[in-house]
């Protein structure tokens, strides 16, 4: 793994799912999801069947990246909160620990104030979990031996050809 690779372990994944599940209820939101800054979805909860989550994740990351670029242009480090207001649904986007993006979709059953408040508390919890993941990854790397093997350690040409020959 490169230094920046994110490895999600079962234990932390469960914790993250719990935290965003709680946020969804507390903030009265319809969907809550987490994306990394490269546009990969980490976890999602709520009414996600009606949504194209993969595209949502990629566009969110693009949006945040573009906004980051804007921030730097005017001398800001980042804009940590983005809010898009629609006729029915709204999107609240915030950066957690400078690394991951927390997206909350909500409608008239909630309000921006409530979402902001709940997101703030949730961010702190998420931040702690991600710190744990980083520490764990770091520890595994330092010990030189992770408790798991890369699933691709023995990948063969045939495996890859098979992927494209369906």
């Amino acid at each position: 793994m490169g230094a920046s690779d994110l490895i999600m372990y079962e234990e932390e994944f469960q914790k993250i799912k719990e935290i965003i599940g709680k946020l969804k209820v507390d903030a009265n939101a319809s969907v809550v999801f987490l994306v990394d800054k490269n546009g990969q979805q980490i976890a999602a909860t709520g009414d996600i069947e009606r949504l194209d989550c993969t595209s949502l994740a990629s566009l969110t990351a693009g949006n945040v990246a573009a906004t980051d670029g804007l921030a730097k242009l005017i001398g800001e480090k980042e804009f940590s909160v983005l809010f898009h207001e629609g006729e029915k649904d709204n999107i609240h986007i915030s950066i957690v620990g400078g690394k991951v993006i927390l997206v909350v979709i909500f409608d008239e059953r909630s309000s921006l104030g409530l979402v902001r408040l709940r997101v703030k508390r949730c961010s702190e919890e998420l931040n702690r979990v991600f710190q744990q993941i980083m520490d764990k990854t770091e520890r595994d790397r330092a010990s030189g031996e992770s408790f798991f093997q890369s699933p691709f350690a023995e990948i063969t040409d045939e495996d890859i050809d098979a992927l494209f020959n369906e």
Partner: protein
């Protein structure tokens, strides 16, 4: 930065199509989109201007099945090729796992090709990547045009590290999957080394 989720047994890989304006990056993606089994692909998203020039990026998620029990998902992106969109181009390279450089074979575009490779190199460096080590494939597109520069000449001008290259006519689909496959292979092989 590939994202490996051991909890849900998934791996997501990001591939970026790079190259000068109008070289055929979006065309590559469109062809992949058309020819992929509907179950395996997501929506093709194009953030383009009214005249179909890429403004920010095109995005196509592909679910290619499983390798060693892991669901393998490729996220294909293109960058806007036009020179003045450099700030956007840079953003898309964030966390890239592999790059496909699409070169335009027309003689008049040779300078644009070399300029774009230089640009790729410096933008990668800003993200801490090194073009000489990152998985990288060269596609020579528009080989069917009468003004196409001879193969040898193109390779001499554009090949930077003995990377695999493919002659392509992306509008007809020639070479599109070969290029993609070669890059995907390099990325997965790279993951296996870690």
């Amino acid at each position: 930065m590939s994202f490996i989720n051991y909890a849900s047994r998934e791996i997501n890989v990001k591939l970026v199509y790079y190259g000068p304006g109008l070289c055929g990056k979006t065309t590559n993606l469109q062809y992949v989109y058309e020819k992929t089994n509907p179950n395996a692909k997501g929506k093709l998203i194009s953030l383009a201007t009214e005249t179909d020039r890429t403004l920010f990026f095109d995005f196509l998620p592909l679910d290619l099945g499983t390798v060693r029990g892991f669901k393998t998902r490729f996220h294909l992106y293109t960058v806007p090729g036009q020179v003045f969109y450099d700030a956007s181009r840079k953003l898309i390279l964030k966390g890239v796992d592999g790059v496909i450089f699409v070169a335009d074979s027309q003689e008049a575009r040779m300078d644009a090709n070399t300029e774009a490779i230089e640009n790729l190199k410096s933008n990668l460096e800003e993200h801490g990547f090194d073009l000489s080590t990152i998985p990288y494939v060269l596609q020579l597109n528009k080989r069917d045009l009468p003004t196409a520069v001879p193969l040898e000449e193109m390779l001499q001008a554009l090949r930077i590290k003995n990377e695999s290259y493919f002659e392509a006519v992306a509008v007809k689909g020639i070479g599109v999957f070969d290029t993609l496959k070669a890059c995907a292979k390099q990325v997965l092989m790279e993951l296996s080394k870690k």
